[in-house]
């Protein structure tokens, strides 16, 4: 088991992200997210990693787009979902900083969903069902979630446990950087996501998070997300704090 305290987080280079959705698919496959039934919609399906598209509001040829992969932002400072849950079904792991959902304790009141500013929490509106034969592909390291409970990204915590077990088997007290990587990071074909311990000053993720081009979503709320984004483009960085009513290209009236 890792002895030193870590703070796992990621930096997503949105200038590299093509919005291909590989991270979404990898996340769903890794975490045993069932395919939605025929009557599910993009508002009722489960996408622990979700890609949003935004543009600069200008007409062609000045128009530019950006894709924001958004999962649980792993808030470091008073995570809104933790304090609102009436039965402590959301916990922050002090050793890693990972904000984890405990589905077996979840009542399904959905207060945490209302409290999350990033809409990164999902409710199981249906029982999980896989097409015949597909259940053979299920990941044995991840428990299935039943109907009526909330779930979210927990940075593939099971992968951390696997890495720890491997380290223990090899007689090491700590895991080596790079041994624990969430599925979305691994799957990104553009290598847009860098993951690691934000407290480790030697790490790439720490270096990237400290760059001037790095920013976090809705930092003004004071939730201290551990997911950073980075972009060379100023209008993209400005989106992080922009009032939704004044987003370029989108007005209240047209939306």
């Amino acid at each position: 088991m890792s002895a030193k305290r870590a703070k796992y987080g990621m930096v997503i280079d949105v200038d590299r992200c093509t919005g291909c959705g590989a991270c979404m698919i990898a996340c769903a496959a890794e975490n045993n997210v069932p395919p939605g039934p025929a009557d599910s919609t993009d508002r009722t399906g489960i996408t622990l990693m979700r890609i949003y598209r935004a543009d600069n509001g200008k007409d062609f040829p000045e128009n530019e787009s950006v894709f924001f992969p958004v999962s649980c932002q792993q808030c470091d400072h008073h995570p809104p979902c933790v304090s609102v849950c009436p039965q402590n079904a959301v916990e922050v792991d002090a050793a890693t900083g990972i904000v984890a959902q405990i589905p077996v304790r979840c009542l399904g009141c959905r207060y945490c969903m209302a409290a999350c500013p990033y809409h990164a929490r999902y409710f199981n509106w249906w029982d999980p069902v896989w097409p015949e034969g597909m259940e053979r592909e299920l990941n044995p390291d991840v428990s299935l979630r039943m109907r009526g409970v909330v779930e979210k990204c927990n940075l593939c915590f099971h992968r951390l446990q696997t890495a720890r077990e491997k380290a223990a088997a090899e007689g090491r007290a700590e895991i080596i950087a790079g041994e624990y990587v969430p599925a979305c990071v691994e799957a990104c074909p553009a290598a847009a996501i860098t993951f690691g311990d934000l407290l480790d000053e030697e790490s790439e993720v720490h270096r990237l998070s400290q760059r001037g081009e790095s920013f976090r979503l809705l930092e003004r709320l004071g939730t201290g997300p551990k997911v950073y984004y980075t972009s060379e483009r100023e209008w993209v960085r400005a989106l992080a704090e922009k009032d939704p009513a004044s987003t370029p290209g989108r007005t209240a009236a047209t939306d």
Binding site: F68, P80, S83, C85, C106, G108, L218, G222, D243
Partner: protein, 398 residues
């Protein structure tokens, strides 16, 4: 009222009740996919219903407080009716909450693993305890039934329960203050939603206090309204004119205080809280159909105007005006609960997010109407077989 006519009046409500039961059955067996709620609208029309009926049911605690603690004996004329209304509202709310959660069988987890920092924990504890108090308060009314009174043990029990009523009223008031407040706090603590977020005193946002005052405002208005409606349907004088006048004065003065505090709160929120978060308060009202009109209607049309009518017209205006004003006060509180629940969730939080609307499914509406039908039936049975208005017999004789 002849038994046959009473039954015929109950038939439509019973049909509504049965349809609602079927909808609830579907939701419990097939899951919340029967609703139109989604990952964004995690709360829907049911939470709006819960907040609303609990505010309307506040007449029970507030009248109990006035009668047993403040010794306003004139209000004994409506206290029984207030207790029944409170019981209906709270039991209806808990019933719908049980359907609204994804795993109703885990409801006890909140008592087993309570998160003391959660407003919802406070709500759960207080509502459950207060429903127990209301049930004990309801019991003497039932035991007073002339058939049940023939059993000596019931008579003795009724006498004993009456003796502890002031204690129960005190406990009920304490619990109610906290859960009405924590229902407001439920939204006021949402730092993620600057539209709902409010600063406050210690751990309580201002919505905590506003919900208490608005519930105290809605309760007496709802009692005035229901007493008048029941009086019209039964064609009986149930309470004296002085009770109506007193209820009107109470129903007017508390909403006036509420309107004042709500205005100060809105002003502070617009000019301090929201700008501190780097936003403009007015930008929340750019998203149709929830434009600025909603704030105007809530504060002026459903707040200030009926309050003034009730305070200054209490002794002069015709009953119809008082009742209409009381109805407007109730509508104001309902609109406030709607804004806190639905408008809060419809607004985007991130720049690349969308404004969204939500239409409840027939199952949600039927379950909503189930609570209404349940309330009408329980109240009608209580009115027919129990002594809800002690002045009724005397006024009828005159």
């Amino acid at each position: 009222m002849p038994f046959g006519k009473f039954v015929s009046l109950m038939i439509p409500w019973t049909i509504l009740l049965l349809i609602g039961m079927y909808a609830i059955f579907l939701c419990l067996t097939k899951g919340l996919n029967q609703t139109n709620m989604d990952n964004r609208f995690a709360f829907g029309v049911w939470i709006f219903l819960d907040l609303s009926v609990i505010a309307l049911g506040a007449g029970a605690f507030f009248t109990g407080f006035l009668v047993y603690i403040m010794k306003r004996d004139e209000l004994r004329a409506v206290i029984n009716s207030a207790v029944v209304l409170g019981f209906i509202c709270y039991s209806g709310a808990i019933l719908i909450l049980m359907v609204d959660v994804g795993q109703p069988l885990r409801a006890w987890f909140t008592f087993w693993h309570p998160n003391i920092h959660s407003m919802l924990t406070e709500v759960t504890f207080c509502i459950t305890c207060y429903l127990a108090v209301l049930s004990v308060e309801y019991a003497p009314l039932v035991l007073k039934n002339k058939k049940l009174k023939e059993i000596p043990a019931f008579l003795a029990m009724e006498y004993e329960l009456h003796r502890i009523m002031p204690v129960l009223a005190g406990v009920g008031t304490f619990l109610s203050f906290f859960h009405q407040g924590s229902l407001g706090g439920l939204f006021g603590v949402l730092q993620a939603h600057p539209f709902a977020f409010r600063e406050g005193l210690a751990i309580w946002p201002t919505t905590f206090f506003l919900f208490i005052i608005s519930a105290a405002a809605a309760g007496p208005s709802f009692i005035l309204l229901t007493t008048w409606i029941v009086s019209r349907i039964s064609r009986k004088r149930l309470v004296s004119e002085s009770v109506y006048t007193l209820l009107a004065r109470i129903s007017g003065s508390i909403p006036l205080v509420y309107v004042l505090l709500k205005s100060i709160d809105t002003f502070t929120w617009l000019n301090r809280t929201v700008p501190q978060m780097g936003l403009s308060g007015m930008s929340f009202f750019l998203w149709a159909p929830f434009n600025i009109w909603i704030l105007f209607v809530e504060i002026i049309v459903f707040g200030l105007i009926p309050s003034l009518l009730l305070i200054f017209g209490g002794g002069r205006l015709r009953a119809g005006w008082l009742v209409a004003s009381a109805a407007l006060v109730c509508c104001g509180i309902l609109l406030n609960r709607f804004v806190m629940t639905i408008q809060t969730l419809s607004l985007p939080t991130m720049a690349f997010d969308r404004f969204m609307l939500y239409t409840p499914s027939w199952q949600e509406i039927s379950a909503f109407l189930f609570v209404v039908a349940y309330g009408v039936i329980i109240y009608s049975l209580s009115f027919r077989y129990l002594r809800l208005f002690p002045q009724e017999t005397e006024l009828d004789r005159n």
